[in-house]
């Protein structure tokens, strides 16, 4: 009887491989901290040469499949959920916004782009601004690090307006005060509601405000 248990226990590691699912070897929190993707063995062999063996020329004896998992950079709970949601898909979000802006206003391609972010978290806003500038540069556009500035009176009035009026008014004032010249275009990135996990973008050029996404 004891041999039965011993042999069974010795065989267990062959059954429980490095599976990302929660179970005997992994807690629920550890499992949820992984971002996984199921890929074909060919794709996995290309991405991780040496770690995943490519398929044999005449096919494998058993059907193989690969689940690739990456641990999150930050443990869940360390950052605010909204910040985590934005930063975990930053590349995807910013490149989408820049692509839409570039496609909607191709006439602004020869202007110098300025970037402004309106987010509740300062560090996240800085990261988003950097990612957006990076995407603009990758598209061959001229980018400036300068931020347009408004006077105290303008800010006092604009912050009392509804968001849909505030952005248009700020754009007019930028142009009127000369903070944003005719050779500049401003791409403003905003998060309009604390409950959303996406970003919106609008363009200010020649004193005219336009939402692009």
């Amino acid at each position: 009887m004891e041999w039965y248990f011993l042999i069974s226990l010795a065989l267990l590691p062959f059954v429980f491989g490095p599976d990302p699912a929660p179970g005997l070897r992994r807690t629920r929190a550890e499992s949820r901290n992984l971002i996984c993707e199921r890929v074909t063995p060919q794709t996995a062999a290309q991405r991780y040469p040496g770690e995943i063996a490519p398929a044999r020329p005449r096919g494998d004896y058993v059907e193989r499949s690969v689940v690739v998992c990456n641990e999150r950079v930050m443990r869940p709970g360390l950052r605010k959920a909204q910040d985590e949601a934005i930063l975990s898909s930053l590349q995807e979000l910013t490149s989408g916004l820049v692509a839409t802006a570039h496609a909607m206003r191709p006439d602004l391609a020869d202007k110098t782009w300025l970037v402004e972010t309106h987010l509740t978290s300062g560090p996240v806003a800085a990261k988003v601004a950097f990612a957006v500038k990076n995407d603009l540069v990758l598209r061959g556009l001229a980018v400036s690090d300068r931020t347009p500035i408004l006077g105290f009176g303008d800010v006092d009035v604009i912050t009392r307006l509804e968001p849909e009026q505030a952005y248009a008014m700020a754009c007019k004032r930028y142009f009127a005060t000369g903070s944003l010249g005719p050779d500049h275009a401003l791409l403003a990135i905003a998060n309009l509601d604390p409950r959303e996990t996406i970003l919106h973008a609008g363009i200010c050029a020649d004193g005219r405000w336009e939402w692009v996404r």
Partner: protein, 288 residues
């Protein structure tokens, strides 16, 4: 431990055999040492064997029924959710929900899914209309047509703000053959492992059909069959695991629903915000 426990039983039984041998047959061999003979004795042994096999088969079936299902969010389902699904996030939003049956869900399951998702959004203040068919009505391969009460609604289509379409599909299914060989060989002590990966594709559009959000939520369910895993899991849940981990293997569908409804609510809220921004961007007088 096992040997020490079994020895006294063996001694007692052998002592009983010795004392029960009649004095008239002092040289009779014990049953185990007796040469096998054909006839009534072998028939009795055969019946015992059949009974033993039946008992073992019954026991094996009973042990095989023990199973632990584990759910793991693969991608999308474990993203952070910001909104609170208990408050009115979609006040006065007119929402149409389409749940066409497909490879993963049949018509009945599609209707049940639509009903549950509809209730989820109604509780958050939306005015919901559900359809267990494809949004593209001309495509018969994707939907089975509308139900009667839904057909009435189509004859007088209610104006909608947003339309959400849910399609389930199977991404992968696998059985670990080695584990099932060991499962039988070890009498279910080593679990037989099978797994299943699914995707729920979510598409949200506005009334004009403009695409607002498109996402795929993927999850995985791993099933461990056998008494070994079932008993181990029960023992671990008695107190050896942390409080949060005691849910492992217990109602995985509840955990999946929690993730799915949270993500769905977040996606719809993002789509609603996107829709409002685009309405502001739209030139005055344009439709929707």
């Amino acid at each position: 431990m096992l040997r020490a426990a079994s020895c006294p039983c063996w001694r007692r039984s052998s002592r009983y055999v010795e004392t029960s041998i009649p004095a008239a047959l002092p040289l009779e061999l014990p049953p185990a040492a007796r040469p096998r003979s054909r006839g009534r004795g072998s028939l009795r042994w055969g019946r015992g064997g059949v009974t033993l096999i039946l008992l073992l088969a019954t026991l094996f079936s009973a042990l095989s029924m023990g199973c632990v299902k584990v759910y793991q969010p693969v991608s999308g389902l474990n993203r952070p959710v910001v909104i609170d699904t208990q408050v009115a996030n979609f006040q006065d939003v007119r929402l149409a929900i389409y749940c066409p049956p497909g490879d993963l869900v049949n018509a009945e399951e599609a209707r049940a899914l639509c009903r549950k998702v509809g209730l989820l959004f109604e509780n958050q203040g939306a005015q919901v209309t559900t359809f267990s068919s494809d949004r593209r009505h001309g495509d018969d391969s994707l939907g089975n047509g509308l139900e009667d009460e839904e057909a009435e609604q189509v004859s007088e289509p209610a104006p909608i703000d947003l339309a959400i379409e849910l399609r389930g599909r199977q991404v992968h299914q696998a059985v670990n053959e080695l584990s099932w060989v060991l499962f039988i060989g070890t009498f279910t002590l080593v679990p037989g492992v099978s797994e299943f990966t699914f995707a729920q594709d979510v598409v949200i559009r506005d009334a004009s059909g403009f695409l607002l959000v498109s996402d795929s939520l993927q999850g995985r369910v791993v099933r461990y069959s056998g008494a070994g895993m079932w008993i181990t899991n029960k023992i671990l849940r008695l107190g050896l695991r942390d409080k949060e981990d005691r849910r492992i293997g217990d109602k995985p569908h509840g955990e999946l629903s929690e993730d799915f409804y949270g993500q769905l609510s977040q996606l719809l809220f993002n789509a609603k915000m996107q829709w409002q921004v685009l309405q502001e961007a739209a030139p005055a007088g344009s439709a929707d």
